[in-house]
Structures are given as structure tokens and as C-alpha cells.
């Protein structure tokens, strides 16, 4: 009798206890705030954006489901394809140059230099200045009438007329790419520098004793050990560049004749300026496969031992 009385409350407690103290459940409780945060602020907006792209929603009015209508329209929209081309050009050229210049700077800053700390801080300046401010500065530098670059070249007698930086299709593209590189290099350089400092000096010493040249030391020690960092940095760099908005919006608003419209600015133009929320969302959604691709490359890359530990250790 006494045993039976004891066992009933025990069973009740166990049911609740399982949720409260079971280690697996406990983990879920602890993750819940983070998960709620992610779902509320990341998954929900993303899902809503994708949903909007299947509707004809406009600003100030709910839409109805229209299936792939927005995508069909965009498929035949020459401006959309132009923006895709611009985005790919912008991202690839800017990322490659940012990587090259960033790596070069990192190697340079890794050497023993006088005033090393100050120089490292100075390198970060373009990254610290708010993008909009630097964009406005570049906008003035590239002004068709008041460009200091044109002015200087004219004074030096190298050109006779002002350079039409932002009014000519290709000039405008190179100009905005240049501004993006200027802004993005510090991020790459400083992160790679951090990676460089984790390389053990003993490896270099051993290589030097073996008679390795500077190039060989870079090729067979620095580069392989830096690969994981490079993968991370370049993934971020590509993502930032691909989704760039402020620089373009301030400098050209996508002009001249849409020659510098990136998918991000084009999406804003269609969704907010013109009020076609559904179509703008479709343009944004079309960015996702590209971004996923960039992430997957580095994700699978990072899984491979070859990337982590050097060339021939596959």
C-alpha cells in the first residue's frame, strides 16, 4: 500500500522532470532564445520575401498569389539581366583585386616595419568611414565637371577635356568597382594579417635552413596554412560585394542607363521606388542561389583536409 502511494507521485514528477532535466531537452531549452531570435529576425523575413516574390503585392496593398509570373517577366527583362551581369562583374573583379591587394598588404604589414601599429591602424580607415560618406567623397572625385582627378590631369597637360567618370557606361562601372575595392581592401588585409600571425615562425626557420627561397616559403608554407582563413575571408568579401547597395545608390543610383544597377539596387528601385513589392522581392530572391553557391564553395572547401592542412594531404 505504502509502495503504491509512493510510486504515483514519482511517476508524475518523472514526466515533467524529463523535460526539465533530461540533457537533450535541456539543450533545446538553452537554444530556444537563440532559435526564436533567428526565426523572428532571419527566417521569417526571408520566408516572407520569398513568399512576396510569388505575389503581385504592391506598396500599401496586399497581393494575391501569382505563381512564377514575376520571374517570367524578369526572365525576359533586359534590365534584370543587365543587373545580373553588372553584379557578377562587380563581384568578381572587385573580389579578385581586393584579395590580391589585401594579401599583398597583409604580407607587407607582417614584416618588421617602423611604426607598425600606427600603419596597421591607418590601413583600417577606409573600413571605418561610414560607407555613405566615402561614397559621397567618391561621387565628388568622379564628378563630370568638378573631378579633382580630371582637374589634375588637365593641369598636367595629359588630357584636354574632363573625364566622364560616371556618365559613360564602362567608366562608371570601373569607377564604382574602384570605390568598392578601396573600401573592401582593409577588411581582407587585416583578417589575412591575423591569419599570417598564427603561422609558426619555426616553420620558416626550418625552411630557411633547408635553403628555401622567399617565393618557396610563401608558396609552400604561408599559402597552404592561410587557405582556411582565405576561404572564410573571401566568402565574406564576396557576400558583402554581391549585396552592396550604398555605394551604388549614392554614386550613380544605378545609372547611367542602368549600367551600374546591381541586383540589390535594382530590387530597391522596383520594390520601393516604383512600388512593385512582388517584383522587387523576386529580384532579391534571385540573388539567393548565387549567394548559396558562394557559401557552399567555401563550406565544402573548409571540410576538405587539403584546404585545412595543405596541398597534398587530401
Amino acid at each position: 500500500m505504502a509502495i503504491a502511494l509512493d510510486s504515483r507521485p514519482m511517476r508524475d514528477v518523472t514526466a515533467w522532470n524529463q523535460l526539465k532535466t533530461n540533457r537533450n531537452w535541456l539543450a533545446i531549452w538553452f537554444m530556444l532564445p537563440a532559435a526564436a531570435f533567428l526565426i523572428l529576425f532571419l527566417a521569417y523575413p526571408l520566408g516572407l520575401g520569398v513568399w512576396l516574390s510569388f505575389t503581385d503585392a504592391r506598396l500599401g496593398r496586399d497581393g494575391i498569389f501569382v505563381g512564377f509570373e514575376n520571374y517570367e517577366y524578369l526572365w525576359e527583362d533586359s534590365i534584370f539581366w543587365l543587373s545580373v551581369f553588372n553584379t557578377l562583374l562587380y563581384t568578381s573583379v572587385a573580389s579578385i583585386i581586393k584579395f590580391a591587394v589585401g594579401l599583398y598588404l597583409a604580407l607587407l604589414l607582417n614584416e618588421r616595419l617602423p611604426f607598425k601599429a600606427i600603419i596597421r591602424a591607418v590601413v583600417l580607415i577606409p573600413f571605418i568611414v561610414p560607407t555613405v560618406l566615402s561614397a559621397i567623397a567618391f561621387w565628388w572625385l568622379f564628378d563630370p565637371q568638378f573631378s579633382i582627378i580630371s582637374w589634375s590631369l588637365k593641369k598636367m597637360g595629359l588630357i584636354t577635356a574632363n573625364i566622364d567618370f560616371l556618365g559613360d557606361v564602362w567608366n562608371a562601372r570601373w569607377s564604382v568597382i574602384f570605390a568598392n575595392i578601396w573600401r573592401g581592401v582593409p577588411f581582407v588585409a587585416i583578417t589575412l594579417l591575423a591569419g599570417l600571425q598564427t603561422v609558426s615562425p619555426s616553420l620558416y626557420e626550418a625552411a630557411t635552413i633547408d635553403g628555401a627561397t622567399t617565393w618557396q616559403r610563401f608558396r609552400y608554407i604561408t599559402y597552404p596554412l592561410l587557405t582556411p582563413i582565405i576561404a572564410v575571408v573571401m566568402t565574406f568579401s564576396v557576400l558583402f560585394t554581391f549585396t552592396d547597395f550604398q555605394l551604388i545608390w549614392v554614386m550613380t543610383r544605378g545609372g547611367p542607363v542602368n549600367a551600374t544597377h546591381l541586383m540589390a539596387t535594382f530590387s530597391y528601385q522596383r520594390a520601393i521606388m516604383s512600388g512593385y513589392l512582388g517584383e522587387g522581392a523576386a529580384i532579391s530572391t534571385a540573388m539567393i542561389p548565387f549567394l548559396l553557391g558562394a557559401i557552399l564553395v567555401s563550406w565544402f572547401g573548409l571540410q576538405r583536409r587539403k584546404w585545412q592542412q595543405g596541398e597534398s594531404n587530401d
Partner: protein, 439 residues
């Protein structure tokens, strides 16, 4: 000589105007009396917030704040004013309309209310009251103000966009004023470039100046985006003619206009780099204020746009309507403020302080001394009367608003002028975009 005369006129004009302006206690007395007799009684405990376009002329904003303060004192309704650059009012208002929260009143750009007509308060009683009292509304304001049979906004004013030009350089090129026909204007541009005193119109995404000149060019040659029934008719020989004209004109412009935004031509004109362009009165006002630019103010004037083959004015000026949101808790207070803004005792000093930047939509205000004090402002008085509406022949609804906001016509001209596309290609792109907007 002309300088002295004009200055004297300006001074004289201001003195006359000042005498008729109510200030301080007198304004408050008048405002109180107005509040008692007005047909709209603000709700108990009402307070309003308004988002307006950011001023171009500081004095205009000061006068506006004074007006609103008088309103608050007389009615006990506090009004909070916030300001955004005029291009940014639209996205904010759209989001507010979408979410149902935000400022009670929005004062934005021409077609704004038509982006979400069903979210705008019906203000027909306010516009009827004002129209009867002040000589009626100009034609374009009626079109902008109404959606179907009801008014969804109160047209407050226009911002005229006229041809700005330098006198001396034009004389040297053999022109005492801007030719009144499009052919003549092309000759003018050629002569100006030949003398190394070129000008230019913005071909970048410039909402005001860019849209202003390409619509003038399209309409003056008989081209139209849509017909009366909102059927897309952009693909026409007239449009092609307009494009050819624009390309010929583009060849005579200063290099770089394809990247210009609304501010670029102001900068270039004030720096003496260009000698003709299209703009509001802001260049002139800025030149007058800056002692080092006085010579530019003396040496410039404004002109109507030349008429093209269609033989009548085809201008597009910016209209600034104020709208009340249906979600407001204080619709009577909103209406009272809208009506108060346009009463003569408020509106006269306010529009005068804008120095010609803003043009009235109510006929009675033609008499305001701002238009006679300085003859160089005179063209801007006619802005509201000469303006066509955003949709051209078609409706002024959200479709027309979208077409302008998406720079369909501007890009069509830019595509052809810069050589990106041929005539057929540029028209085809615009045609496709318009058909989607107007479906």
C-alpha cells in the same frame, strides 16, 4: 542700370508685402477667429504629425513653421513636423500606408496619393471650400487631386521647372532669349556649344530635372506613353521623332549629363560650367544669396519651355500635394490644418517667402507680389497653369506615378541618346515596361 531697378523693385515689393502680412499677435488673433468659424473642429486631445519634403529655401520653412505654430495656438492641436528629402517621402509614405501607422499627414511629390488612393482621406469638402473662396483650382491640380469623383489630397503648390540660361553668353551666340520653338532651341544649343558656352539637361536618374525635360521633349513632339483610355501608345513615329530631337540636343550638351542627378546642374551652373539647363528657381536664389555669385544672378534669366510640333506648352512641373491617412485618429484636425495652410493670410506670406520656388494652385494667388517684385521670377507664376500631369493623356493614378518613379521615359531617352540602344530598341524596352505597369 537694370540691376538698380530690379533691386529697387525687390525692396519695394517686400515693403508692400510686409505691410499686408499679419505677424505676431495679429496672426494669432486671426488664427483664433478662423478656428472658431472653420467648418472643421479638431477632435478633443488631437495631436498631429506631418512628414514633409525638406525645404529648398530656408525662409520658406521658417514661414511654414510660423504658420503651424499659429494653428497650434489657435486650435490647441500640437503639430509635429518632420522632414525628408523629397525623394524619400514616397517610400516612407508607402510603408506607412502599408502598415497603417505613421504620420497623420504626408506632404510629398505629385503623384504620391495615387500610389495608395484607398488609404487617403476624402478631402473633397476642404478642396471645395478652398476652391470657392480663392478663384478655383488650376486644371492640372484638379487632375492631380482627384481619384474618381473625390479629392484624395489637397494640392498645395507646384515647384516650377523652367529653362535657366545665361544672358551674356546667349547674346554672344546671337540669342536675346530662349527660342520659343523646339527647332530654334536646337539651333540655340548648337550656337552655344560652338561658342564654348554649352549647357545641359540631366539624363541620370534625376527625379525632378531629368523627368522634367524628357517629358517635355516627348510631349512636344506628340509622343505619349498612353492614350486617354490608358492604352500604351509609346511605340509611335512621334516618339521616334522626340528621340531623334533629344539625341541631336544631347550632342550639343556638355559631356557627363548621363550621370547627372538633380543637384548636378545646380553645381555646374553656379560654377559657370554650363550656360543653360532646366531647373527650379533655386539656382537663381542661391546665386543671389552668395556675394561671390552675384554676377551670375545678374546675368541669368528664366524662360518657358519651347513649344514643339504639337504647338502648345507641354511642360511637367512638380506638384506637392498634402494627404491625410485614413488611419489617423483625428481626421477633423487634419482637414482643419490643410484648409488653414491655404487661407490667404497664411498662404500669401508663405509663398512669398519661397521666393518663386513654389507656385500656387489656386487662381486668386496670381496677385501675390512675389511674382511682380522680380521680373525674373515671372515665368514661374505660370507653372501650375502650363503643367500637364504625370500620365500625359492618361489617368494620373498610380500607374502614371509608377512609370515616372521607375524612370521609364527617362531611361528610354538615355538609352537612345547615349547610344546603348537604337530607336526601336529603346522604345521596345519602354513599351514592355509600360505594358506591365498599365495592364
Amino acid at each position: 542700370m537694370s540691376y538698380l531697378t530690379r533691386r529697387a523693385l525687390v525692396k519695394g515689393g517686400t515693403a508692400v508685402a510686409a505691410a499686408s502680412v499679419l505677424t505676431g499677435p495679429a496672426l494669432l488673433e486671426w488664427a483664433k477667429a478662423w478656428a472658431q468659424n472653420a467648418p472643421w473642429k479638431p477632435e478633443k486631445g488631437a495631436k498631429l504629425s506631418m512628414l514633409r519634403w525638406k525645404y529648398f529655401v530656408q525662409a520658406e520653412d521658417d514661414a511654414f513653421v510660423k504658420l503651424v505654430e499659429a494653428f497650434s495656438k489657435a486650435t490647441g492641436v500640437p503639430v509635429e513636423i518632420s522632414r525628408e528629402s523629397y525623394e524619400d517621402v514616397q517610400p516612407k509614405a508607402s510603408v506607412a500606408a502599408n502598415t497603417g501607422t505613421g504620420p497623420d499627414l504626408f506632404w510629398g511629390l505629385y503623384s504620391l496619393p495615387h500610389l495608395f488612393p484607398q488609404k487617403c482621406m476624402d478631402v473633397t469638402d476642404v478642396t471645395d471650400y478652398l476652391g470657392k473662396k480663392y478663384g478655383g483650382w488650376v486644371e492640372s491640380a484638379v487632375q492631380y487631386g482627384k481619384s474618381g469623383n473625390k479629392w484624395i489630397c489637397v494640392p498645395i503648390c507646384y515647384s516650377g521647372n523652367m529653362v535657366n540660361y545665361r544672358l551674356e553668353a546667349s547674346k554672344k551666340a546671337g540669342f536675346s532669349k530662349i527660342p520659343d520653338k523646339t527647332d530654334g532651341f536646337l539651333e540655340y544649343a548648337k550656337a552655344m556649344k560652338k561658342n564654348n558656352t554649352p549647357g545641359g539637361f540631366a539624363l541620370g536618374h534625376a527625379s525632378g530635372d531629368g523627368n522634367g525635360w524628357v517629358h517635355w521633349c516627348l510631349w512636344s513632339h506628340g509622343g505619349n506613353t498612353v492614350d486617354k483610355a490608358d492604352k500604351v501608345i509609346i511605340n509611335s513615329p512621334e516618339t521616334a521623332k522626340a528621340l531623334e530631337y533629344a539625341k541631336a540636343l544631347y550632342a550639343e550638351m556638355i559631356p557627363g549629363v548621363a550621370s547627372w542627378n538633380d543637384a548636378s546642374n545646380n553645381k555646374a551652373f553656379l560654377a559657370g560650367e554650363i550656360n543653360w539647363t532646366d531647373n527650379g528657381i533655386s539656382i537663381y536664389v542661391a546665386a543671389q544669396k552668395d556675394p561671390t555669385k552675384k554676377n551670375i544672378a545678374e546675368d541669368m534669366d528664366h524662360s518657358f519651355w519651347p513649344t514643339g510640333p504639337v504647338g502648345k506648352p507641354t511642360e511637367l512641373h512638380l506638384m506637392y500635394p498634402v494627404l491625410g491617412m485614413t488611419y489617423t485618429k483625428y481626421p477633423q484636425a487634419c482637414k482643419a490644418l490643410m484648409a488653414f495652410m491655404l487661407e490667404a493670410d497664411n498662404f500669401n506670406p508663405w509663398i512669398e517667402s519661397a521666393q518663386g520656388y513654389l507656385t500656387h494652385c489656386l487662381n486668386a494667388y496670381d496677385k501675390n507680389p512675389v511674382w511682380t517684385a522680380d521680373p525674373k521670377r515671372a515665368p514661374f507664376r505660370e507653372a501650375a497653369k502650363r503643367s500637364l500631369t504625370a500620365g500625359g493623356l492618361g489617368s494620373v493614378g498610380e500607374k502614371a506615378a509608377t512609370a515616372i518613379a521607375d524612370f521609364v521615359v527617362l531611361d528610354m531617352f538615355a538609352n537612345y541618346c547615349t547610344g546603348r540602344e537604337d530607336v526601336k530598341g529603346s522604345i521596345a524596352i519602354a513599351d514592355r515596361q509600360l505594358k506591365r505597369i498599365y495592364r
